[in-house]
């Protein structure tokens, strides 16, 4: 392994350089800014609509809508990461440089994560408005944002994997959005109930949801329960998707 990868510190330097280049390229292109702005308009408008209709000084409806929204929105940010490099053949130039697939994947993942953080920063007017209008539960807002960040990080890692598989951005989008939405929906109580009813044990849906869906863990965070198991769940899935992307890019394993 060490023969194929630079030392950790050098690897981190290379990943940072790739992240910086990719973030600049994404902001320079038309797709990422348009997706970011459109998404921000959508979520802010949707929240304001609900806020003025119900007059509640809290963000729970906003956070509950985020997992499914992110499952569709984040693939639009991640689809170009490797698919674009494959399509334009710059992937060959990238891997003529002394980097391993691990550094490349991490660098591109960090760039996508940077865009996602920009999106989250764009939603800050919502808690800002709540602070002006009343006294919201700041703990719930912070743990909600943590949950959104973690579920987004996992879905982005899935997007990186999808982008590493294909040279077509549309295919990369679908390959990330479809399983991402499925993972989220498997945790929905209605889907769980249907799946539970399909087997004699009456717990198939619940078992699947507890193992692979990020939704139950996310909902725990919304309730203010920040447990180690939650962090392990998101960390493990994120690491697995990134590892799989690096394996896919390693030509010897292709």
């Amino acid at each position: 392994m060490s023969k194929h990868q630079p030392p950790l510190r050098e690897g981190a330097r290379l990943s940072r350089l790739i992240a910086g280049r990719d973030l600049a390229a994404a902001l320079d292109s038309s797709i990422a800014p348009v997706v970011l702005i459109a998404s921000l308009l959508l979520v802010n408008t949707a929240f304001m609509n609900g806020f003025f209709l119900h007059g509640r000084v809290e963000m729970s409806s906003f956070f509950q809508a985020m997992p499914l929204f992110l499952a569709v929105f984040l693939p639009a940010l991640s689809m170009r990461l490797f698919a674009e490099e494959h399509k334009t053949r710059t992937i060959e130039v990238l891997f003529s440089l002394p980097i391993s697939p691990r550094e490349a994947v991490l660098g591109k993942y960090l760039a996508a994560l940077g865009l996602f953080v920009l999106f989250l920063l764009g939603t800050l007017p919502i808690p800002g408005l709540l602070l002006v209008m009343g006294e919201p539960d700041l703990g719930a807002i912070v743990s909600g944002y943590l949950g959104v960040f973690l579920i987004g990080a996992e879905l982005l890692a899935l997007g990186v994997l999808a982008s590493a598989i294909t040279s077509d951005q549309i295919v990369a989008f679908i390959a990330a959005a479809a399983p991402g939405a499925t993972l989220v929906l498997l945790g929905d109580f209605r889907v769980k109930r249907v799946l539970d009813g399909l087997t004699a044990s009456q717990s198939l849906g619940t078992d699947i949801a507890s193992w692979i869906s990020p939704l139950p863990v996310f909902e725990e965070l919304l309730r203010g329960v920040v447990g180690v198991s939650s962090l392990i769940h998101f960390g493990a899935f994120t690491a697995f998707f990134l590892w799989a992307a690096a394996q896919r890019l390693d030509r010897k394993n292709a």
């Binding site: 023969k3 194929h4 990868q5 630079p6 290379l14 350089l17 790739i18 280049r21 390229a25 320079d28 292109s29 334009t88 053949r89 710059t90 060959e92 130039v93 891997f95 003529s96 440089l97 002394p98 980097i99 391993s100 030509r251 010897k252």
Partner: protein, 323 residues
């Protein structure tokens, strides 16, 4: 002198060592013939054909080869792209890789650059194995891929800085190397332009600049003159020749007298104008490995053109391969 050359030549790949057999001294001729026959039989078994009774290269280089390709085979599904190819390239040597489209030139260069792995055989660059130590190989390699893809939205200056920093250059060293490639590749007028605003010729030069930025001891160029106008082609040929003899000033190979340059083309005149040696590949098999001057002499002796000689030899070898 001939004996010395033959011994050096004999240490090379199978094509060369076989082709050297008629130049051994009388005392060693019998043993050499036996060895050559054994190797010839071995090659027949792998479908590898030698160049018939050609003299060894008159290279005076005695250093270890910077590129060593040994019995390399690569397939994509049912298609065999490269089959049992062996050759060496020494420091200071310019070797031209000639063959029609789809012959396997780019596949071999991709394998040498570590982008693809051989299914069988070994490739070493600057002493490092491409599958065992790909990062060390890339550190010692400057590579201009086919199609010369570049990150289009970056300015030329930012692109060169990015490649330089990725290669571990920084501060004064990066500034010095950047200034050198900008000067040699004549890029000063487009430095602040985006890559996608540059002409095809400039893009090719930007690719070459990126490949040479870290002063590599081994340079691979896949169709390097593609897209250049005739004036640029002539200047570029001179540049490649100069590149091979220019001492390396930085990196782990600092002090090495000259680079190993391996470039591909499907234009014989171009290969003949630049190379010390010509490798001809067709249908994934190496048909010819010969010094350019020898081929030119042979063409002159037969009162024919180099093109006719090489095409004739390719046709003859092709028939043997097809048997």
């Amino acid at each position: 002198m001939w004996i010395l050359r033959s011994i050096q030549w004999g240490a090379r790949g199978p094509v060369e060592s076989a082709s050297a057999r008629c130049y051994k001294s009388d005392a060693k001729r019998g043993a050499a013939r036996r060895r050559a026959k054994e190797r010839h039989n071995e090659r027949q078994a792998t479908g590898f054909k030698s160049t018939p009774l050609t003299p060894p290269p008159s290279s005076s280089k005695t250093v270890d080869p910077m590129i060593r390709v040994v019995d390399v085979t690569k397939s994509y599904g049912d298609t065999v792209a490269v089959q049992g190819v062996s050759f060496d390239v020494a420091a200071g040597e310019v070797v031209g890789f000639l063959g029609p489209n789809g012959a396997g030139k780019s596949t071999l260069l991709k394998m040498i650059s570590t982008w693809h792995s051989p299914d069988r055989g070994k490739i070493q660059v600057a002493g490092f194995d491409t599958t065992e130590a790909p990062l060390a190989v890339r550190q010692n390699l400057g590579y201009l891929p086919e199609h010369n893809a570049l990150w289009d939205t970056m300015t030329v200056d930012r692109l060169l800085r990015f490649i330089g920093t990725m290669r571990g250059l920084s501060g004064a060293q990066l500034a010095q190397r950047r200034a050198w490639v900008v000067d040699r590749c004549k890029l000063s007028s487009v430095l602040q332009k985006r890559v996608n605003e540059c002409s095809k010729g400039f893009r090719q030069r930007i690719g070459v600049a990126g490949a040479l930025l870290h002063d590599p001891p081994v340079v691979l160029l896949d169709e390097p003159t593609h897209g250049l106008d005739p004036m640029q082609v002539v200047a570029f040929r001179d540049f490649i020749r100069e590149l091979a003899t220019m001492p390396i000033t930085s990196g782990s190979a600092a002090g090495t007298a000259g680079r190993a340059v391996l470039f591909s083309s499907h234009i014989l005149a171009e290969v003949a104008a630049i190379s010390d040696r010509i490798l001809v590949i067709r249908e994934g098999k190496l048909l010819l490995d010969e010094r350019t001057e020898v081929l030119k002499d042979r063409a002159a002796a037969k009162n024919t053109t180099l093109e006719e000689l090489v095409v004739g030899q390719m046709a003859a070898q092709g028939k043997e391969v097809g048997k």
